[in-house]
Symmetry: C2
Subunit: 356 residues, 2 copies
Amino acid sequence: MAARTRPATIADVALRAGVSQASVSRVLNGKQNVDPAIAARVHDAVADLGYTPSIAARSLVHGRNDTVAMVVPDLENPLFQGILKGLSLAAAADGYRVLVADTAEQAGEEAAIAREARHRCDAIVLCAPRMPAPQLRALAPLLAPAVVVNRSLDDPAVPTVGVDYARGMRDLVEHLAALGHTRLVYLAGPEASSSQAERMRGLRDAVTAHPGVTVDTLPCGSRIDDGHRAGEAAAAAVRAGATAVIAFNDLVALGLMPRLVELGLRIPEDVSVAGFDDVPLARYATPPLTSMSVPRSELGAQVWSRLRALIAGEPSEHALLFRPRLEHRTSTAPPSPARRLAGVREALLAESELPA
Amino acid sequence: MAARTRPATIADVALRAGVSQASVSRVLNGKQNVDPAIAARVHDAVADLGYTPSIAARSLVHGRNDTVAMVVPDLENPLFQGILKGLSLAAAADGYRVLVADTAEQAGEEAAIAREARHRCDAIVLCAPRMPAPQLRALAPLLAPAVVVNRSLDDPAVPTVGVDYARGMRDLVEHLAALGHTRLVYLAGPEASSSQAERMRGLRDAVTAHPGVTVDTLPCGSRIDDGHRAGEAAAAAVRAGATAVIAFNDLVALGLMPRLVELGLRIPEDVSVAGFDDVPLARYATPPLTSMSVPRSELGAQVWSRLRALIAGEPSEHALLFRPRLEHRTSTAPPSPARRLAGVREALLAESELPA
DNA sequence: CTCGAGTGGGAAATCGCTTACTCACTGTAG
DNA sequence: CTACAGTGAGTAAGCGATTTCCCACTCGAG
């Protein structure tokens, strides 16, 4: 029976086995050659006392504690959940655990929370989409070893792993354009979000590449409710001639769709809707949601691979950017002929206005 | 500029400030009265050196590290995500951080993972729905201070926080019965899951209380895909006379509904569908999903309240059980008259068969 | 038989911090 | 004027492991 009073220490084990602490340590860590007889006695003593080495003491000596921190703005976001899952599993395979710190969208606290979390761990994964770039640039080096997720950063010591949102957006616009859509609406995410900025960049590139296509941006947000609330505005835009809506992410799209239906629009007959992230529920939505698939777990695994290298003192690897893959489902389809004509007319009108 | 070489220690600070380490420690921890002049010099030195006390060393002295572990079978489950979020936020308010350990549904590893995680932390939150009761009973005391989530355990030292699934199921059946449903189908969760067992108990109680109601149980699972796959069987049951389906949880229901529609059934005209957990997406499903609401974040907060008390050495509080609240949405409605008659006829038939 | 290399195990230093314990010094009461 | 609280700061003893250093001992070669 294990001692109820005070957890056994290595000294207790040494005493009981009649050897030195050094020997106990050597046996337990498989260092050097140890007399089998001693090893046996140590093992017996360990078993009798129910001894487990103190993590704290070991950490003090080694200067590391086999734990990495992950700072996220919102644990409820499926993207971060996926990354956390992937990271946590990959890290566990190497004997590391993950500490989570939810900043609860308190952008102001992010830096302090990150430093505190980092201080408890050997390394850190930072997801801080809202943090101003200068602040991030100043913070990142202090956090090393660190990996920044989902935003770019030109610090050679801090690798980034992320998603090519701009490219994804372009691909998505091209998908819609190929279907025949020319007037699109984009429900924008949080203004300060860096991935929102990336998406905007992608949209601009896309309309530049496709002069016939226009995109109206409507403020929205990143959560289900935001999408639902944006329904009115989106429907109005559709009535004004738009034929497709791109949502900041799937949550927004999933909140939006029922609202559009409520407002009398059919998807995809009256309006196509596309999301981003390809959350598990997207394919079971009504109608199944076209989305840009992002490998969430894989992101987490790659983050760990980067982090492990950094911890081992290896030079930082190259930035990694996943290109989202289009998951074409039934929420996007060619616009109905009538609507399409209307769109073309609008476009012509807009063009004819230009010279004026 | 902070030293790039080796992080500053308290000794460096003491040296630079020209005082003893003890004084530095006292200043930094606000113990005793210290000469303001000394305090100032210490603060200057700390700032100059960019000193932060080593967590490991402090942990070693104090015997605690202000971290609690949370073990979950699957980080992708919205229930655990919600609990994690609530726990993490509540704990952070008291200066504690949360370490997550995803057992990846490896029921066999759970005990080992839990002990390892516990060993790194001051306390632990255990979610192990699949662990056999005897094993859990044996394990729990070794983990103290610990709180067990979502299952009962008669260990006075280990409080539990959970959901009254049996009661919730009864309430749900009563809701459906009140609507006029008499032949229900239940898509069961994982066999080994304790909350699944609780739900079954609730179902049994309900049919006992309502002799006119019958419930057929179909094996299913706990995830979206499981629900989708169970669509065929559920539809068959409906064709055989059932008028309502209760899903193990919302994920299952959300996977099930589109499949039922695909198979030609209308919800709720042909079949009512109800879920459990009230995940955020439930109200935006098509049709909006009736569900038993579970206060996920609140569960996490309550878990922390229990855990904090235990860490402080206070006696364990009473077990806490939340009663789910019905969220009646449009996925459940009275059965159509024709179908209802069919149900009654079946019931009469079944009754008349009894004496046989 | 002696000397040197090789090896296993114990003593003690170390990691960085907290916290008794001790001591010098000030101020006041007898 | 002496002595005794009271106070603030320094010294040093842990906390529980790992790891270096060193000694004693064995074995083989000369």
